[in-house]
Every structure is written in structure tokens, then in C-alpha cells.
Assembly symmetry: C2
Homo-oligomer: 137 residues x 2
């Protein structure tokens, strides 16, 4: 096992459980900080990606806000260049915009994910970010 | 100047500007991480309290979520005992519940404040948390 790939924890909040493999390449972890409910409609997650891990392309009907708490990674919207994510970065993902996010090849990434207006619908999960796409960022 | 009271920064996100003195006892700082808008209706702030600082009693028509990122402080709902806040704590404040939050007397406190459903109305600011209340927690 490559020790540099070991991720002992996350940042401030728990690492949680392994994220659904169907929607990720590599290993990511998610902790529910605030469960969805009928008052707030605003679930909040702590998401931690191991190096090279990223979620599939997807869309949020109500949009999403990312608060990057540590490590290094990428955020990319369809048709645009990927942008580097670092501690303290804030990303606002408009409703229905196709995108993905994840760690850099040589670093873990941790972010808080806020999903306002979750009552507008569940995320729409699409195809994976292929190694070819990822390796050519 | 008491050096232990100096607060050089915040946690991960910027400390921002001094919060409106009308709504606080002591000095608190707020950075707008996500401005309110007509799509998300979900402004997000980084709030940092100097030791002894706390906001006035207040209510949020759409509720509020606090993610504690560092230090030590208190959260209290009207008619209930104050609860201690520490790094990693999550607080869900239901709509229209009268409450306050702030630092401990001997520690700064930093939290992220998420205000979902901000279109339900502006916060309703009420009376200060008096020294008598605060010193008898």
C-alpha cells in the first residue's frame, strides 16, 4: 500500500462512510452533517476524496455550494476548463449545470457540500470522468 | 492590551469585517462566503467571535444552520440551558426560535452560518444577552 495515499481523516468534521461507488471513480467519503428535512430542504455533507478520486458528472436541480476545507482538487463545469480547488475556495454551482469535483492526482481534497432547495429534486448522476479526461486536465 | 484576547484570524475562511455593533456585545467578525441571491436564497457567512462576544437574542424566519469550525462558545434557545459549542459541532436552529450564540469568556469561537430559505425574511434582532445572563451560564 502506498502510504502517501492513506487518508487518516478529514478536516474538522468526520470523514464518514465510503461514498456510493456507482457515482465515483476512486474512493471518496461522506458524512451527513445535516440530513435533508421538510423545513430546511438543505442537507449538508462533509466530503473527502482520496488522491485521484472524483465524482461522476452530475447536476443538482436546486444547485450546490462547496466550501473547500483542505487539500487540493478540481471543479469543472461542462464545456469549461477545470479550476483548481484549494483550502478556503467557495464554489457556487447553479441549478442544472453539469459538473464534477474531486481530488488532485497527488492530493486528497475535503469540502463541505451544501444543497439548498433540495426539494427541487435529487441529483442527476451521469457518466464518469474518464481517466483520459482526468489525466488531461 | 491583553494579548490572550487578540484574535489574529479565523479558521480556514477569512475573518472578514467587524459585525454590526448594534446586534452584538463585544467584537465579532463576519465574512460573506456566499451572498444572498434569488436562486439559492441561502447566504453563508464565516463568523468569528472574540472571547466574551455574543450576538443579541434573535430569530430567523427560515431557520439557520451553524457548523462550528474552532474555539469554544455557547448556543442557547429561549427557555433552555445554554449548550457548549466546540469544533465539529452542528446546530440546527428552527425557524422563529429565539436564540443567541457566541464565544466563551475565555476563548474565541468560529462557525460557519448557513441561512437557508432566506427569502422567508430577514433576521429579527432582539435584546442583548446581558452580562448577568452571560455570567450565569
Amino acid at each position: 500500500m502506498n502510504k502517501s495515499k492513506v487518508l487518516p481523516g478529514s478536516v474538522i468534521f468526520p470523514k464518514g462512510e465510503k461514498a456510493a461507488p456507482a457515482n465515483f471513480i476512486g474512493t471518496a467519503w461522506a458524512e451527513v452533517l445535516v440530513a435533508d428535512d421538510s423545513t430546511f430542504h438543505c442537507p449538508v455533507f462533509n466530503v473527502t476524496f482520496e488522491p485521484g478520486a472524483r465524482n461522476n458528472w452530475h447536476k443538482h436541480p436546486g444547485g450546490q455550494i462547496l466550501l473547500v476545507t483542505g487539500g487540493k482538487g478540481y471543479y469543472q463545469e461542462e464545456g469549461k476548463k477545470a479550476q483548481v480547488l484549494r483550502e478556503g475556495d467557495i464554489i457556487k454551482i447553479p441549478p442544472h449545470v453539469k459538473h464534477w469535483h474531486g481530488a488532485a492526482a497527488d492530493s486528497w481534497l475535503a469540502h463541505i457540500a451544501i444543497i439548498p432547495n433540495a426539494n427541487k429534486g435529487a441529483p442527476e448522476w451521469l457518466e464518469p470522468v474518464t481517466d483520459e479526461e482526468y489525466n488531461n486536465l
